[in-house]
């Protein structure tokens, strides 16, 4: 029996001690007519057979080692130092539970504290929680936090260029609440200033947005606060190695997709929801927080803290229902940031910038192609001379995924391709992409 160490002889001894004849006797409380159904599943298989089956399934996918990817759109192929999986897969981290018993969980607790510290520095916030499910749910909870901040302020401004799946998650999370979700175009500060009523709860800025564009955030915090709202910035954490932090722009809450920081693509999950805020709002922040304290002998240690915000203490009055989060992903990001360090993260961000701008320049020089203007970091929209979907299909034959045809989310945008270039791409990757695009439309 896989993973069950009780031998038949031991089982009989144990049943004897309990005074029953069979395992079945232990289930007398279950309604008899429904007890012991036959499960129409295959019988158990050996490890060898199961791994063979899963290896076959995995090979039915295209993956980032066999294709050249210029696909981002919320899931990014950044460099991951070998140290990250080697350390994060240690059983002592992998198979521990939530650190509710601090004396035997100092490893996890200190790592989360270090994660909180580094991500707070990166985002420019006072406090960062121990994680959310992903960037989209972190942003949805940030909006909810803003909505609850002021009773009569119910207007939520989100950028038209926010990731379409994030918009859908926000809509789901807010479906039960009285509020108006309104999309704005152009500068976020103008959107706040242009409001007729004084009912702003939250303004969200995407830094950058789904199309890779970096908005001008100057004056936004002031304009949002003037209307009585909270300023939420959803950021690309790699970009924050180079560009001003949301905190420096006056954000009240920051969210980000932390997958880029040392986590695999994993076909979309597990990812890492980053969420941080200011000291003024920290007692309303959802999610776990680790704090520093001392034991009776004065030794420094770490504990889960401000638990009066959480479901296991406050039940229906908790700020969120979140319990299990993405602890292991936060650990991976912690190790990643330690490995990259002050200079490494900056270098990665600069490489993204140079590679992406070189790719954009070369693609724009192709006949029939153009690049949407505007400030960008690592992702940009290409207008294609033939439908982007058909163009992409041609490149798949050459083991190149040239980007995301925007028609996936915007049916009318048939000739737009969202291209992502990171520090992992080489000059020849980029030149091969350009060459393949040229040939595809000839």
């Amino acid at each position: 029996m896989p993973y069950i160490p009780v031998t038949n002889a031991q089982r009989e001894d144990m049943l004897h001690r309990l005074g029953v004849l069979s395992l079945e006797d232990l289930f007398a409380d279950i309604p008899q007519e429904h007890r012991f159904p036959v499960l129409a599943l295959d019988g158990g298989k050996s490890e060898l057979e199961v791994l063979r089956e899963l290896a076959t399934l995995s090979r039915a996918n295209a993956q980032a080692d066999s294709y050249r990817w210029f696909l981002g759109a919320g899931a990014y192929d950044h460099f991951i130092p070998a140290v990250v999986p080697a350390l994060a897969s240690r059983g002592e981290f992998l198979t521990a539970y939530t650190p509710y018993q601090p004396e035997v969980s100092q490893g996890t607790l200190q790592a989360i504290f270090e994660y909180q510290s580094m991500v707070a520095e990166l985002t420019g916030m006072d406090a960062v929680n121990a994680s959310h499910y992903d960037g989209a749910t972190a942003l949805a909870e940030a909006v909810l936090m803003g909505l609850k901040n002021s009773e009569d302020h119910t207007r939520i401004l989100i950028p038209e260029g926010l990731h379409p799946e994030y918009k859908q998650v926000i809509t789901t999370y807010l479906s039960a609440f009285e509020c108006t979700i309104q999309e704005y175009t152009g500068s976020p500060s103008a959107a706040a200033k242009g409001l007729a009523q004084n009912d702003l709860a939250v303004l969200v800025a995407a830094y950058p947005d789904f199309f890779g564009k970096i908005p001008d955030l100057s004056g936004t915090a002031e304009a949002v606060h003037e209307k009585g709202g909270l300023f939420v910035v959803h950021a690309d954490p790699i970009m924050l190695g180079l560009f001003k932090s949301p905190g420096a722009w006056g954000a009240d809450i920051v969210t980000a997709e932390g997958q880029s920081l040392g986590n695999d693509l994993n076909y979309g999950g597990p990812f890492l929801g980053i969420m941080g805020t200011t000291n003024a709002l920290v007692r309303r922040l959802p999610g776990r927080l680790v704090g520093e304290t001392r034991d009776s002998q004065g030794r420094r240690g770490f504990v889960l803290t401000l638990v009066a915000r959480e479901q296991h203490i406050r039940r229906e009055k908790a700020v969120s229902n979140i319990c299990s989060n993405q602890g292991l992903m936060a650990l991976r990001s912690c190790i990643y940031l330690a490995m990259m360090g002050r200079q490494g993260l900056r270098e990665a961000a600069e490489l993204c910038w140079h590679n992406a701008h070189y790719a954009a320049k070369k693609i724009a020089e192709l006949p029939g192609f153009s690049v949407e203007p505007g400030l960008f970091f690592k992702e940009f929209v290409v207008h294609t001379p033939i439908p982007a979907e058909a163009l992409a299909e041609k490149l798949y034959q050459k083991q190149i995924v040239p980007g995301l045809p925007l028609s996936r989310y915007y049916p009318e945008r048939t000739e737009d391709l969202l291209v992502c270039v990171t520090e992992k791409h080489t000059r020849s990757d980029i030149e091969d992409l350009v060459q393949a695009l040229r040939e595809a439309v000839q």
């Binding site: 896989p2 395992l23 232990l26 289930f27 279950i30 309604p31 007890r35 899963l54 399934l57 039915a60 996918n61 980032a64 080692d65 990817w69 759109a73 899931a75 240690r90 059983g91 981290f93 521990a96 539970y97 018993q101 004396e103 035997v104 969980s105 100092q106 996890t108 580094m118 520095e121 960062v128 499910y133 989209a136 998650v169 789901t172 479906s175 039960a176 924050l240 001003k244 695999d264 693509l265 994993n266 076909y267 979309g268 597990p270 680790v290 520093e292 304290t293 034991d295 504990v303 803290t305 969120s320 229902n321 319990c323 602890g327 190790i335 990259m340 360090g341 002050r342 600069e350 490489l351």
Partner: protein
């Protein structure tokens, strides 16, 4: 481990400095290549000073995290009988499967034609979970148990609204429930209402009938219930409970936290449940990761299938594809769920098969009752008199001399065991909740029982030893009050 009753290291004793304290200006680990393309000028006015991350070399990072890991208890290292958390062995085979490049390096927005392996796996897991639970449809999108609860309660709400039934706002929740249940109701804009338990720890049927009768019936959205309950007892009146709620027009949500006791034993849908989440990180052996990631798959009856969050994987004539259910509550997460967790759960189900899954429940129940019997004299199970517990039991220890459950828990650490869940469920005074799981041997269970009984003796003969535990950990009991009153949440230099 037994020789360390009075002190002496059981784990990495020495505290580890913070990474930030190990930082030396100019030191580094990762070095990236120089740009191979012509450089583009940076927008200087928008830039920052490089973030002040630690400056450390690679070996320092490796030692730092290795030493931190040694300060953890884990399933790989210790018996971890944490009630309600199902800390079973996490097979290494699952890690291998999840590490295959075709899964680990697959992009979620790759075209379906290049993602057939992932889609086939998602579809296969949906079908397996449908078979195990009896539900007609499953969504794998929720990322954790509480996320599954939110999904399920939003489905219940959406179903009522779709029928024009907008007055139904009350969700009934037994007083033994996890805190996530009432917190979920608030997040879904509904009102949590507590139903007391009766003298046997079961749902008080009279109180439930009263909450569902007369005009009150018209405001019932549903009931959230954990079965087996958090007392580790199967709710014997479950069919009647469900019938009462159904008669009032409400739907019944099953919290699947305790499904480990029921796989292959009973299909929840057969009992009448309408919606239920499964914690794949409990029942289906995926590692807890120090607090996640989990996966909270949600199953529903045929009537609710089109309300599921999407997309869900479907089989077509050409292979596999994604589809958004027609009345979906929407997305609850970007992309498709915690896919790499789903790979592990699928590998586990394939390994165990139908017989192996039933053995999981049988032996988890056997092990729980075995410990219960070994410690019955000093730690009698509350309720459940004359009945068998399911996968866990709850004691309410009274060892005297001012010894609290917290002291017992901390003293168990000295014996090399992770403490059980304590002070939960809230309806049991000084609760001590023990869930051994099926992957532990009788030798381990007996050693644990022996330690619990030894602590009962110590409570009589040397209570201070118990009250001052743990003695062999890198830190002793920590000052949580000051931590909350004057929070230090970041390194301040």
């Amino acid at each position: 481990m037994m020789q360390n009753l009075e002190g002496g290291p059981t784990m990495g004793q020495q505290l580890v400095p913070l990474l930030q304290e190990e930082s030396v200006p100019g030191r580094r680990a990762v070095q990236l290549p120089s740009p191979s393309v012509p450089e583009t000028p940076l927008p200087e006015a928008l830039l920052r000073e490089a973030p002040k991350l630690p400056e450390v070399d690679e070996l320092t990072v490796v030692r730092h995290f290795t030493r931190l890991s040694q300060m953890n208890f884990s399933i790989d290292g210790q018996f971890y009988p944490l009630g309600s958390c199902t800390m079973k062995y996490n097979p290494k085979m699952n890690e291998e499967a999840a590490s295959y490049a075709g899964f680990r390096r697959a992009h979620p927005l790759a075209p379906e034609s290049l993602s057939q392996g992932s889609l086939a796996l998602l579809h296969g897991l949906q079908e397996a979970l449908q078979e195990i639970t009896g539900f007609k449809a499953v969504s794998l999108q929720p990322a954790a148990g509480a996320h599954g609860e939110l999904t399920g309660v939003l489905i219940i709400r959406a179903w009522h609204v779709s029928r024009g039934d907008t007055k139904r706002k009350r969700i009934l929740i037994p007083d033994s429930a996890h805190g996530t249940n009432p917190a979920t109701c608030t997040m879904a804009g509904l009102i949590a209402e507590t139903i007391p338990s009766d003298g046997t720890g079961a749902v008080d049927l009279e109180a439930l009938r009263a909450a569902c009768s007369g005009e009150q019936a018209e405001t019932i959205a549903g009931l959230m219930i954990t079965n087996p309950s958090t007392l580790g007892l199967f709710e014997r009146n479950i069919k009647e409970i469900i019938a009462i709620v159904h008669r009032a027009g409400g739907l019944v949500y099953g919290d699947g936290a305790n499904m480990n006791a029921l796989v292959g034993i009973v299909k929840p849908a057969d009992l009448g449940f309408d919606v239920m989440h499964l914690n794949l990180h409990k029942t289906f052996s995926t590692p807890h990761g120090g607090g996640g990631p989990g996966a909270g798959a949600v199953g529903v009856t045929g009537a609710l299938a089109e309300f599921l969050p999407g997309p869900v994987a479907v089989k077509t004539t050409e292979g596999f594809s994604f589809r958004m259910p027609s009345q979906s509550i929407g997305r609850v997460k970007a992309f498709y769920g915690n896919f790499a967790v789903l790979v592990r759960a699928y590998a586990y189900i394939r390994r165990l098969g139908s017989d192996g899954l039933r053995r999981v429940a049988e032996y988890s129940v056997l092990n729980a009752n075995y410990i219960r019997s070994l410690v019955a004299e000093k730690y009698p199970a509350v309720y459940g008199e004359g009945r068998w517990n399911m996968h866990e039991f709850v004691a309410s220890p009274e060892l005297g001399n001012g010894i609290h459950t917290l002291d017992i828990a901390k003293r168990l650490i000295d014996y090399g065991f992770h403490p059980p869940t304590i002070y939960f469920p809230l309806i049991v005074k000084e609760a001590l909740m023990v869930e051994p799981t099926e992957t532990e041997s009788p030798e381990t269970l007996e050693a644990f029982a022996k330690a619990l009984l030894a602590i009962a003796d110590e409570a009589q003969n040397n209570p201070d030893l118990v009250k001052s535990a743990p003695h062999n950990t890198p830190v002793g009991r920590l000052d949580e009050t000051t931590a909350a009153r004057k929070p230090i949440l970041c390194y301040k230099g």
